[in-house]
């Protein structure tokens, strides 16, 4: 098909950036800016899921693992920064006051190391995991269940190592963020702006990946893995790249989640948290560029506002959302939008199945 306005998505990202970075800080209260910051973090993970699942067909049910790795890297640094040089975090004093800082904490005193770890730790873990699984051609439901089991295992591991990780209660009570006082409103705005900017960067990376040959191979792998193999490509490599990119996005999202929310616990990376990350992606449109991010923000907003006015109701809404979207609009709201769009421009029958092609 012909390439219609290839720069259109870029304009969209630009508009989105203006909204997030200029309009939002000027209009919303600090409470909602902070909330939006939290949604942005989840949206980063969602953009990654969109790539891996929507484009690559890998139902990643364990993104909590990478979200958690990024988050705990950041949280360990902030905890140490709050404790002050040479001192133990409070919770460690509780269990073993005279013991040393566990060796794996030590490097997180360094700001540079923390930043590198946030990006590379999820990447390394995803590479090893992805290589092992994709080379063995583990896919579909197997992949989904295994990735979820790993999320559970990591959550239990953290819960049970209280002295080393803070356990079930997690890490909280951070006072500083790379030298900035977290309680200061201007600094909160800065943390939000960083999160929002990183979300924009994630969208740009996703946009670029989708346009590249890799992006085309990824979709091809999703739709017909065997044919890709016959054409001389290794589908495992293609999937691996998308999986690693998704992991890094989740890791970065998790890292920014920590200073914005102020607490990270194993519950945020366990099975149900990992599944909830999927909700927004499904709603927005798994295969589209903007769908996952906007869907994640919408679900976050729904939880914040509906959860307040009608607590039990929100659970029903979320449940129905999973059911109705999957049943009736598997392409998410993005597919509805693009269908309307294409019909308006030149009437033709709506594309079948998951009509993400139109958005290209």
């Amino acid at each position: 098909m012909t390439k219609v306005r290839p720069w259109l998505p870029l304009i969209g990202i630009g508009v989105f950036a203006v909204l997030l970075l200029l309009v939002v800080p000027a209009t919303l209260s600090m409470h909602w800016i902070n909330n939006l910051g939290k949604y942005c973090c989840l949206a980063m993970a969602a953009v990654g899921i969109g790539l891996a699942w929507g484009r690559g067909g890998m139902l990643v049910l364990g993104q909590g693992v990478f979200f958690g790795l990024g988050a705990y890297c950041m949280a360990m640094h902030l905890t140490l920064e709050t404790a002050g040089p040479g001192r133990l975090p409070t919770f460690m004093i509780l269990y073993d006051p005279l013991g040393d800082l566990p060796a794996f904490w030590e490097p997180f005193r360094s700001e540079l190391f923390t930043l590198l770890a946030i990006a590379f730790l999820p990447a390394i873990v995803a590479s090893v995991l992805g290589y092992a699984l994709f080379k063995r051609r583990v896919k579909g439901a197997y992949f989904a269940i295994l990735s979820q089991a790993l999320a559970v295992a990591l959550a239990v591991l953290i819960s049970s190592t209280i002295r080393e990780t803070g356990g079930d209660t997690g890490l909280s009570d951070f006072k500083y963020f790379f030298g900035f006082t977290l309680s200061d409103d201007t600094n909160k705005l800065m943390v939000y702006a960083i999160a929002a900017s990183l979300l924009i960067v994630c969208l740009l990376v996703a946009w670029q990946l989708r346009r590249s040959r890799l992006g085309e191979l990824l979709v091809a792998t999703r739709d017909a893995e065997e044919r890709v193999r016959f054409l001389g490509y290794d589908p495992a490599d293609v999937k691996l790249v998308a999986y690693v990119v998704a992991a890094v996005m989740a890791g970065v999202g998790g890292a920014m989640f920590v200073p914005i929310v102020g607490i990270i616990t194993p519950a945020e990376l366990g099975a149900s948290a990992s599944i909830l990350m999927i909700a927004g992606v499904a709603l927005g449109g798994r295969a589209s560029l903007f769908g996952p991010a906007l869907g994640a923000i919408a679900v976050g907003w729904g939880q914040s506002s509906l959860g307040s006015t009608w607590p039990g109701g929100w659970v029903y809404v979320l449940g129905l959302l999973f059911i109705l979207v999957t049943l009736f609009i598997p392409g998410g709201l993005a597919s509805v939008f693009s269908r309307v769009w294409s019909v308006r421009r030149r009437p033709r029958p709506a594309p079948v199945a998951v009509p993400e092609v139109v958005l290209r």
Binding site: A141, A153, L157, S160, V315, V325
Partner: protein, 294 residues
């Protein structure tokens, strides 16, 4: 030797409960390819049915045997409802059944929370399960023996049903080649429905067993769902004997790790062990050659 007996027996009982939870999945997931995340909540439904039965029949000696078929029926009907209402439109998108049933699971848990708002409900154990069995010096609780007996009965019944009845033959035919089965006059829609009914019903039976071992509350299903799926995957999809061995293996490894380390580490190590195992045998312990499943 003595140190090994207790974890071995307790692990076998834990494995039996896991097997009961996973057995239904070998049908709905293994044979039909549906990833039913609400399966755990059907277990919960079974447990609540055991409680409701005790409200009517107060003697737990009678109520538990009565509750078993009722739970099978109740959970089975829930499953049938799910199949007719939602799943039947989704056989061409197996991965999406996971998302749909996550939604169903959320709703079922919230409904249970609103019907049974208390701190969970008590399910009384029959007094004929009081006491222990002396096995080489270890006092093995009878309740655990009961779980194992129940699991063996369910597995035998299911295997016999699949092997020797005409329904069983139709199910196997549908799994192996749906189109050919249809042309041969098998009503595959009916087969789907019955398979789903039986698979979900088995979750109800598991629920009765679970209610005798732990707490009965709206969240109890979430405890079983992931281990159960893991067991089915490790056993080899659609393979009852694989599921039996995998469930037993997971149960025993949980017990031994818990004996050597802590309950938490046992869970971590067992999960990692299963994932590593699947690395070497991605198809699970046993494989079935079909055209229907890829």
């Amino acid at each position: 030797m003595d140190a090994l007996i207790a974890p071995l027996l307790n692990g076998s009982a834990a494995g039996a409960l896991l097997l009961l939870a996973a057995l239904g999945l070998t049908l709905t997931f293994g044979q039909m390819g549906v990833i039913n995340m609400a399966h755990g909540d059907f277990i919960m439904a079974g447990a609540f049915i055991a409680y409701l039965t005790q409200l009517v029949i107060t003697s737990s000696n009678i109520s538990i045997p009565v509750a078993l078929p009722l739970a099978f029926l109740g959970a089975g009907l829930l499953g049938l409802l799910l199949e007719v209402g939602i799943i039947q439109w989704m056989y061409k998108r197996p991965l999406d059944t996971l998302l749909v049933t996550v939604g169903v699971s959320l709703i079922l848990q919230q409904i249970a929370l609103q019907i049974f708002p208390a701190q969970g409900v008590p399910v009384e154990k029959p007094s004929w399960l009081d006491g222990q069995l002396d096995v080489l010096g270890y006092e093995w609780p009878l309740r655990q023996v009961f779980t194992i007996v129940l699991a063996i009965l369910c597995v035998t019944a299911l295997a016999a049903w699949l092997r020797y009845t005409s329904f069983g033959r139709r199910i196997r035919a549908t799994v192996q080649n749906r189109d050919l089965a249809e042309t041969s006059g098998v009503n595959t829609r009916t087969v789907d429905r019955i398979t789903f009914f039986v698979g979900s019903g088995l979750a109800g039976v598991a629920g009765v067993a679970a209610s005798l071992i732990g707490g009965t509350n709206s969240q109890m299903g979430t405890r079983y769902i992931i281990p159960a799926f893991l067991v089915v995957v490790a056993g080899g999809i659609g393979q009852i004997k694989g599921t039996v061995i995998a469930a037993w293996g997971v149960g025993v490894s949980l017990a031994f790790f818990a004996d050597w380390t802590t309950g938490s580490m046992a869970q971590v190590l067992t999960f990692v062990l299963v994932v590593v195992f699947l690395q070497f045998r991605p198809q699970g312990l046993f494989t079935v050659r079909t055209r229907g499943l890829t």
